[in-house]
């Protein structure tokens, strides 16, 4: 017994050592946060990328008054669309320098972990985070649960007037404003100019029908195997692409009474079009398992002529040679619509806002950070990967300055103005995450041919009605 026991112990110790080394030795290609297992309700510890405290970088300002108590504000943001983490970290550093009595610490998770991270953070009092990034579709739910600080009285006239009116829809539920809009984003249509030119086309498609025609030629000429790639995986990403197509066909998710309308004739036809595009080899079949990052990777390799993605993709695919093999070949165009849909274009409004936790111990300092982050000056300074929420930033001299800031904004700024009028928000209902999951299931059941589009959408509509009760 002795001998094996000894070497079992050695193995166990060795495995611990190896396990400890593993994350460093095996870098994960994608940063993914594991949420806490369901049995444990305490918020999971997260990797904190704490910026260096301000005082180490700059001499502390001379204080004439006795220093106030130093408070720490914890911020939860995401690493995906929008500014890079380097940009976000420097905003935090600048804020900390300007506010010696406040230390902001920021954490990042992927978009798909963000909602659940917030709900677990809010289970404790005071919450694990004072400030968090909230997606447009969660505002109704979080307001309903009492997570969010009512900021209505903190919004100044200057903010009201200076920021896009449509942007205020994001953090507003009923009459109350629960935060500041921050990331005005929508899905854009991207195309590879070289592939299009090789196929003999001088302009990108204006309708989805035209896209199919161009795709067939691209396929026949053997330029790419699957001309378009989508994010139709079982995530919110699938809903975003589907809404783009649905509204482009003249459809809506819910009718005026708030009841599901997505399973009517238009809704079914749209989903049938999606299924058909896979059957015809136009849509990359792996789209059923893809999110936006997969779309970007495939498009970056020149393996797709068309793609639908958020604003952030343009810089990465067209100007970053370490990220893309198609630099200099990419352009953006107005999102196509269906010929019979009665609209010129349609896309999904994927905007987000920053809010303060209702139970935060330091709501004033937390709000100060949100106000700083969304201020016109900061927004204009960091607009390479995210356009400002301030309408005034697009006007006159500052508008010109914004558009000429870089090669990226030369395209994205005019494109934003052109596309934003066709942007559609998803319904603001407290049960949205569950309703969305039912819709994701319906899309996937139709795409994998487990059900017909009609049957799948009818089932999702029934679930939606049940949730409304």
């Amino acid at each position: 017994m002795k001998v094996p026991f000894r070497w079992i112990s050695i193995l166990v110790i060795l495995s611990f050592v190896l396990a400890a080394c593993a994350p460093a030795a095996t870098p994960a290609p994608v940063k993914t946060e594991a949420p806490a297992p369901a049995e444990t309700q305490a918020p999971a510890p997260v990797k904190t990328e704490a910026p260096a405290p301000a005082k180490t970088e700059a001499p502390a300002p001379v204080e004439t008054q006795p220093p106030a108590e130093k408070v720490t504000i914890r911020v939860l943001s995401m690493e995906q669309a929008g500014p890079t983490t380097e940009e976000m970290n420097s905003i935090v550093d600048e804020f900390n320098k300007e506010h010696p009595n406040v230390t902001v610490l920021i954490d990042y998770v992927s978009y798909d972990a963000l909602h659940d991270k917030i709900t677990t953070a809010m289970a404790s009092t005071p919450p694990a985070y004072d400030v968090f990034l909230v997606d447009d579709i969660w505002y109704a739910e979080f307001a309903d649960k009492g997570y969010l600080l009512d900021a209505t009285s903190r919004i100044t006239q200057e903010m009201r007037k200076g920021i896009f009116e449509a942007a205020w829809e994001i953090p507003t539920v009923g009459e109350k404003v629960y935060g500041m809009p921050w990331l005005l984003d929508q899905k854009y249509f991207f195309y590879n100019t070289k592939i299009l030119a090789d196929a003999g086309f001088s302009a990108p498609p204006k309708t989805w029908e035209e896209l199919i025609e161009q795709s067939k030629v691209i396929k026949e000429k053997g330029l790419v195997e699957f001309p378009i790639v989508w994010s139709w995986g079982q995530y919110e990403a699938a809903i975003c692409d589907w809404v783009t197509l649905l509204y482009g066909n003249g459809g809506t998710i819910v009718d005026e009474a708030g009841k599901p309308a997505f399973n009517n004739e238009i809704g079914v036809k749209t989903l049938e079009w999606m299924v058909q595009s896979i059957d015809d080899g136009i849509t990359n079949p792996a789209s059923i398992s893809y999110v936006e990052e997969d779309v970007r990777n495939v498009f970056s390799q020149g393996k797709a002529a068309f793609a639908s993605n958020w604003n952030y993709m343009f810089d990465l695919v067209n100007f970053q040679p370490d990220q893309s093999q198609v630099t200099g070949q990419v352009n953006m165009a107005l999102m196509p619509a269906f010929a019979g849909g009665g609209v010129e274009s349609a896309t999904i409004d994927g905007s987000m806002g920053f809010s303060v936790a209702a139970t935060s111990a330091h709501p004033d300092q937390a709000w100060a950070y949100v106000e700083y982050l969304t201020s016109q000056a900061v927004q204009e300074k960091y607009s390479e990967h995210m356009l400002p929420i301030w309408e005034v930033s697009f006007e006159g001299a500052s508008g010109e300055k914004l558009a000429n800031m870089s090669d990226v904004t030369k395209v994205t700024v005019p494109m934003f103005k052109e596309q934003f009028p066709f942007s559609h928000v998803r319904p603001k209902v407290p049960f949205y995450p569950e309703a969305s999951k039912a819709l994701q299931l319906a899309l996937q059941e139709a795409l994998t041919k487990l059900k017909t589009p009609q049957q799948a959408l009818d089932d999702a509509a029934a679930k939606w009605l049940q949730l409304m009760k």
């Binding site: 001998v3 094996p4 079992i8 193995l11 060795l14 495995s15 190896l18 396990a19 593993a22 994350p23 095996t26 994960a28 290609p29 994608v30 993914t32 594991a34 949420p35 297992p37 369901a38 049995e39 444990t40 309700q41 798909d112 909602h115 659940d116 709900t119 677990t120 809010m122 289970a123 009092t125 739910e141 649960k145 009492g146 997570y147 195997e225 995986g233 079982q234 995530y235 990359n284 079949p285 792996a286 059923i288 398992s289 997969d294 990777n297 495939v298 390799q301 393996k303 209702a358 139970t359 995450p433 569950e434 999951k437 994701q440 299931l441 996937q444 059941e445 795409l447 994998t448 487990l450």
Partner: protein, 296 residues
Amino acid sequence: MSLSRRENLIGLLFILPAMIVILGVTLQPVVSTFYLSFFDASLSKLTENVFIGFENYLNLLGDKVFWVTIQRTIYFTLVSVGLELLLGLGIAQLIHSRPFGWRFLRISLIIPWAVPTIVNGTMWRWIYNADYGALNGLLYQLGLIDHYVAWLTQPRTAMNLVILADVWHSVPFIALILQAALATLPVELEEAAAVDGANAWQRFALIRLPMLRSAVLVALVIRTVEAFRVFDIIYVITNGGPAFGTTTISFLTYLETFSFGHVGRGAALSFLISLFTLVMAIIYIRFLYRPEERAL
């Protein structure tokens, strides 16, 4: 008598702090989860919880989704643990026969097991990627496929590929346990059997395997319970898709609790998972555990 009683008391006093800590982190959450499962509870403490008795349990047991998910979880558990046991036994045998480089083999075996599950999941997600994954690259270069396959787009295929990733991760665990057990077996019985004319297969099936029963039991119980509660690898590779095809019972619990905020329902689900795993453990012990083998 009184001395031993006093010793017992002192002993109890010494382990009391550790006991309090252990009960605090194991028993308390279990009890509060059980308590929560009788409420219509939201994750936020700001809304009132309503007592609804057994309604969470009744709703779940009457829900088709719950039973389909249980079936799927059982499939995952049976196939992955079955494969792991077969491969693990094979590898343990291989190392036990001390081939050239067996020490190196034994050490390198630990690597898959030492990789954190999240990293393992991310790695396999990339391997399975239809457009730039290693699996398609490998099969294509070997000439086994003539065009790239979109691996994770059918529910059945996706489930089997997740199982493969889990097997890669967990085989070493079983192999190491069995190999350690093999090292303790007396060789005399097999030598005697060989003298009596038993062939290699007979010696393995009739002598070695029965003597390994306790080790197999330990490995099986641990791995079955783990496989039944599988979560992270699915979260990373497929997020439960396509079309819920890889949504196991733990993933459903996660969705209900954290995405949908139905904490009461999630608590009831957690409890049902515990119940299922308990039943499985009892079955294993009934069939495999023989008291007379305790000496081994």
